[in-house]
Symmetry: none
Amino acid sequence: MNWEKLARELSLKTPTKIVLLVLDGLGDLPHQGQTPLEEARTPNLDELARQSVCGVTDPVLMGVTPGSGPAHLSLFGYDPTRYLLGRGILEALGVGVEVGRDDLVARGNFATLRDGRIVDRRAGRIPTEENRRLCARLNEALKGRTNPRITLYPGKEHRFVVKFSGPGLCDALSDADPQKENKPITYTQPLVPEAEESARLVNQFIDEVTELLRDEAQANTILLRGFARHPTIPTMEELYQLKPAAIAHYPMYKGLARLVGMDILEVGPETADIFRVLEENYEAYDFFYLHFKKTDSAGEDGNREAKIRAIEELDPFLPRILKLKPEVLVVTSDHSTPCALKSHSWHPNPFLLHAATARVDDVQCFTELSCQAGHLGRFPALYAMSLMLAHAGKLKKFGA
Amino acid sequence: MNWEKLARELSLKTPTKIVLLVLDGLGDLPHQGQTPLEEARTPNLDELARQSVCGVTDPVLMGVTPGSGPAHLSLFGYDPTRYLLGRGILEALGVGVEVGRDDLVARGNFATLRDGRIVDRRAGRIPTEENRRLCARLNEALKGRTNPRITLYPGKEHRFVVKFSGPGLCDALSDADPQKENKPITYTQPLVPEAEESARLVNQFIDEVTELLRDEAQANTILLRGFARHPTIPTMEELYQLKPAAIAHYPMYKGLARLVGMDILEVGPETADIFRVLEENYEAYDFFYLHFKKTDSAGEDGNREAKIRAIEELDPFLPRILKLKPEVLVVTSDHSTPCALKSHSWHPNPFLLHAATARVDDVQCFTELSCQAGHLGRFPALYAMSLMLAHAGKLKKFGA
């Protein structure tokens, strides 16, 4: 059963609208009997659950903890085991780099070279400020360069992303990283014959940077790894005939949305801004992906109180979505981030779908366990998209 | 996980019997709190649910609305995305044409040709009576013809089915239909080299019919589309070692049953006739597919009262099946047909399986939502067949 093939065949362009609200990392584990979602006061989410059909989703497979990439691809209807996103791509998206179809990106470290040996693979974890200065200095030195154009983007501490832009670049390249200290500079190797020219360009860049930084005390060379090109992935318009837009605060989620062809709407830093931008752009699109990050951040910090506060901060905004009367509203999560684990987990996500065509079930509140008893049962997140399209009248009948 | 491969390997011939009762289009949406199935008085179905294991099924994939073809194939254990039934085949089955392994069928329209242009693609929607006269006239004119033999079968208004019978026919043919009016006759084109001879025969037939009908005022030519041969599909005997029979009132369902190798039992027009024929033929087969159409027809008409009446009409017949003591009785549906949508939908189907080997659950009545809470949960309809075979002792252990 190939959903992507069916999607191409059955999707219909219609004026109906879908809103997908993702509360990142929402699911959790009980602490003294209750999860943060159970403990939080959520009158709007609970009322919505009573008027919706509910279930819980597995992002990839039962027991498999997804990164943000696979978890979101799945929610957008893309098989995450088919569309693999390289670490370099995700790192690039995470620092806000726009990766085009002709670009090659890699993750980088500034490092310390002494007497021909890498003595510190992180250049003493230089401050982020220092990183910014170094990237600006290198970008200035490289600015006349074309074919490929080369740009560095500073991350935190010693980490950066580099983007090579030009035709014919290949990402079948080994890491240019000795992995251990006290080894000489390691150059990238082409993993296939077509990557030979790209390897030469990358290695020439490493030598050039090392020459440019020779007067720096700590950060006087670089390591590169995770070479990746833009993945070959059909857009949501190609698959579903949708005109989609993303409203998200963090670069990673904007980047993921851009990968599948969404327009990225500018949004201010407050939670209220997400809903204001939705209202302002409601006529221009037929699919909206809204991303709320605070639930995940609190989970990653192991801060249960902050997670409860984040959920309660979000809850009052639901009526603003309903007021727009989208044909379909889904509230769910990409993955769980239990406070006790301080990391993503494999536990399934609560899911509710509100639509006039929904077979509303008996679920009385929006929590991990109560949603499980809903009419959608437990299902792969991959089918969130077919359900949204169906309830919005955007899928034709299959066969006669 | 390939069920078909497992089925061939594990199926056993045994004297046990299976009855599959399909209430077409049964599932619905709540109206003022209740679905028709919830509102209907169904003491026998509810008692049976209490003694059964229950669940709900997705015919194809969550969110995907199936036509009757894919929905039934799934219930018979055939992956409906693998075995695709052309529109021509289904139309042919629908008007009761027996399609054999050497036959090529197509859907046809009578149309109006004037001054070399098709001016009406439906010949003014001629009455069905007129259609019958034209088909009889053409069949009379064509009756001496062999290789291929050609037969027309009238449908409603301007629609008919044509069957070409002879060896070596190929269905890789484009539609012989200009799609728009005021265009000349469009001939079929072979889509692969092996279809060239078939295209020549079909186009010669179009010219011949146009010549034969030249004195008709409105219906003086034909359009043909959806060319299809009998699909290559293993029989239920090949896959499951069953000797299956179908009891159905409508040609479409008899046709689908014939496609998978069932014998079609003659049946009178009343609901009671279905059960009488089951009783009379009970010894001769080990698998019975019983099809009840009225629930779907009421849904398609948007007639909620009629749907409730249909369910209540069926309910009293259940004890007659139980009296035969089949090892397995399944009551379910092929797809939902909600009255509010007046069409097939993607909503899952209630499912109950009654057998001495069933792990009976706590489900107290046979409704869409209560079945969801059953021990079978929500599952693909494709596994209805493995469950029926298993509970009837017809599947060996897999592996040692």
